[in-house]
Point group: C2
DNA sequence: TCATAATTGTTCGTTAAACGAACAGATTAA
DNA sequence: TTAATCTGTTCGTTTAACGAACAATTATGA
C-alpha cells in the first residue's frame, strides 16, 4: 500500500525536523513528487495530524496518541518511572529507560535533571545503538548470531575521537558488557557525555529494556561512575525487572 | 488519500487496544474490509510499525518516534518535567501537563506517584475535556465564540453521578474557572477521583497548557486541595509559564 | 514600489494501485 | 476428526492516486 507508506514517510520527516517544513522541502527529503506530498499533507491535515502554518507544516499533538501505546508502552514506562526518579534523586543525574529497535535505541521513559545538557533527548528519541551504553547493554544480550547480524548490517561512522567503529572491537566491547553486567561508554557519542547502563531483566530472565545514567564528563570521572552510580543503577534495574513479567 | 487515512485508522485502533488484535477484529472496529486491513497491516509491518504475533497484531516501539516531536513536544515537556516533579515532591500526589486537541485533552508530561490508581494514564493519553479539570482550565481561556463552538459540537454523557452535562451549566462552570484561575473537578470523570488544574501562561500571555494534581477523593477533601495543593500548583504553573515563550 | 521568484492550489486525462470476491492453506476449538 | 476461524493468495475490475501543466497566492529583493 504505497500511499500509506508515503504518508508515514512524510510524517517521519516532519517528526525529525525541529521547525515547520514547506512542501518542496519535504518533497526533497522524501524523494516524493510535490503532488504526492501535497496529497499526503492534505489527508493528514484532514485527520488532524498536521497543521499548515505560515512557515510550513508541522505535526500536531494528535500524533502522540498514536505513540501512546505500543504493546508494553502502557505498562513498562508506567512501572519504571518511580525507579528512574529514585535513581535521579539518589545520584542527581538524569536517568532513562530505552529499548532496541533495529540498529537504534528508543527512549521510552526518563527522569531528567534541570541542568540537562542534551535537551533534544525525549521519549521516542532515537540514538545509534553501537556507540551508546544503552545500546551496548541491549546488544550484549543477543545471541552471537543475532549480534553479528546486527553489527554487519551497519556502517559505523566515528562520532567523536573515542568512537569504536570496527566490528571486531565492537564485538569485544559488547562481550565485555555481557560479562560485567553493565556498559560504560565514554564520549563515543558526543564529546563530554559519559553514560552508564544496565540491562533490565524480567522474571523470565529476558532483557526487556536498559536503564542508564548520563553525566557530563567534566563533572564525574569513569571511576566515580562505577563507584557511586553503578550500585544505585544496578539496584534500581534489578528491582524494576523483578516487578515485571512482560 | 484514502489508503493513508485507512492505514492510520488501523494504527489508531491498535493503539487503543490493550492487547493484540486479529484482522477480523480490526476489520470490525474500523469498518474496513478484511482485505484492506490485511494490506494496511502488511505495509505497516514492512515499515516496522507493527508486528504479527500468534495472538494478533500489535504496534512496535517505532510508533513512538512518530510522536517524538510534534512542534513543541520537543521543548515543553522537557522544560516542564522538573516543575511537575517539584509539585509531586511537595504534595506527594501525581502531577501532569496536558494540552487541548479538539474536544479532548492530551497528556504531554507527567510525574506520578507509585500509588497511582489509574494506571492507564500515560503520555499521549486522551480524556474528554468537558469533565476534567485540565480540560476546563484549557477551555476557560478560549474566546466565548470558540468556547460555544467547542461545546456545541459534543454530546455529553454523564460518566458519574456528578458529571455536568448541560451546556448552560458547563458554560457557567468554565466561566467560573476563568475568574478563579483554577479548575477543581470533583468526581465527574470517575468516582473517587478529584482533580485540580491551573493554566500555564507563557510570556506572551497565551495559555499553552494546563497543569494538574489528581488525588483520591477519599484521601483529600476539596477544601484541603485548595488550601494545601493549589498554592504549590499555582506557583509551579507560574514559574513554568515564565520560562517559556513558545 | 514593482518585478521575480517561490510556494501553494487546481484541473484532468492517464495509469497503476487498491479493491473485493472467491479460493486455499493454516491454525485453533470442540 | 470435524467445524470454525483466521491468514494468505490470486485475478479481473474499478477507483483512486498520479503527474504535468496551469493559476493563484505569497514571499523576496532591487
Amino acid at each position: 500500500m504505497t500511499s500509506l507508506a508515503r504518508g508515514l514517510e512524510v510524517m517521519g520527516t516532519l517528526s525529525q525536523s525541529d521547525s515547520e517544513l514547506k512542501m518542496p522541502e519535504i518533497s526533497k527529503q522524501t524523494n516524493l513528487s510535490r503532488a504526492v506530498v501535497r496529497r499526503c499533507l492534505y489527508t493528514l491535515q484532514e485527520l488532524g495530524y498536521v497543521e499548515s502554518k505560515p512557515l510550513g507544516f508541522r505535526l500536531l499533538p494528535k500524533v502522540l496518541s498514536l505513540g501512546q501505546s505500543y504493546y508494553g508502552a502502557k505498562a513498562l514506562p508506567q512501572i519504571a518511572q518511580p525507579f528512574l526518579e529514585q535513581v535521579h534523586l539518589e545520584t542527581g543525574e538524569s536517568c532513562s529507560l530505552a529499548i532496541l529497535d533495529g540498529s537504534e535505541v528508543i527512549y521510552i521513559a526518563r527522569s531528567t535533571s534541570r541542568r540537562i545538557m542534551n535537551v533534544s533527548l525525549n521519549i521516542g528519541s532515537r540514538l545509534p545503538a553501537f556507540c551508546t551504553s544503552l545500546g551496548r547493554a541491549l546488544l550484549a544480550h543477543l545471541s552471537p548470531k543475532e549480534l553479528q547480524n546486527h553489527l554487519s548490517k551497519e556502517k559505523y561512522r566515528p562520532l567523536t575521537a573515542n568512537t569504536i567503529t570496527t566490528i571486531s572491537e565492537l564485538t569485544k566491547a559488547i562481550n565485555q558488557v555481557a560479562k560485567d553486567g553493565y556498559a560504560l561508554v565514554d564520549q563515543e557519542l558526543e564529546v563530554g557525555l559519559r553514560s552508564l547502563s544496565v540491562p533490565v531483566i524480567n522474571q523470565q530472565g529476558s532483557v526487556i529494556a536498559a536503564m542508564n545514567v548520563g553525566v557530563s564528563a567534566s563533572r564525574i570521572s569513569n571511576a566515580r561512575m562505577l563507584q557511586n552510580i553503578l550500585p544505585v543503577l544496578r539496584n534500581a534495574g534489578k528491582l524494576l525487572g523483578e516487578q515485571t513479567s512482560l
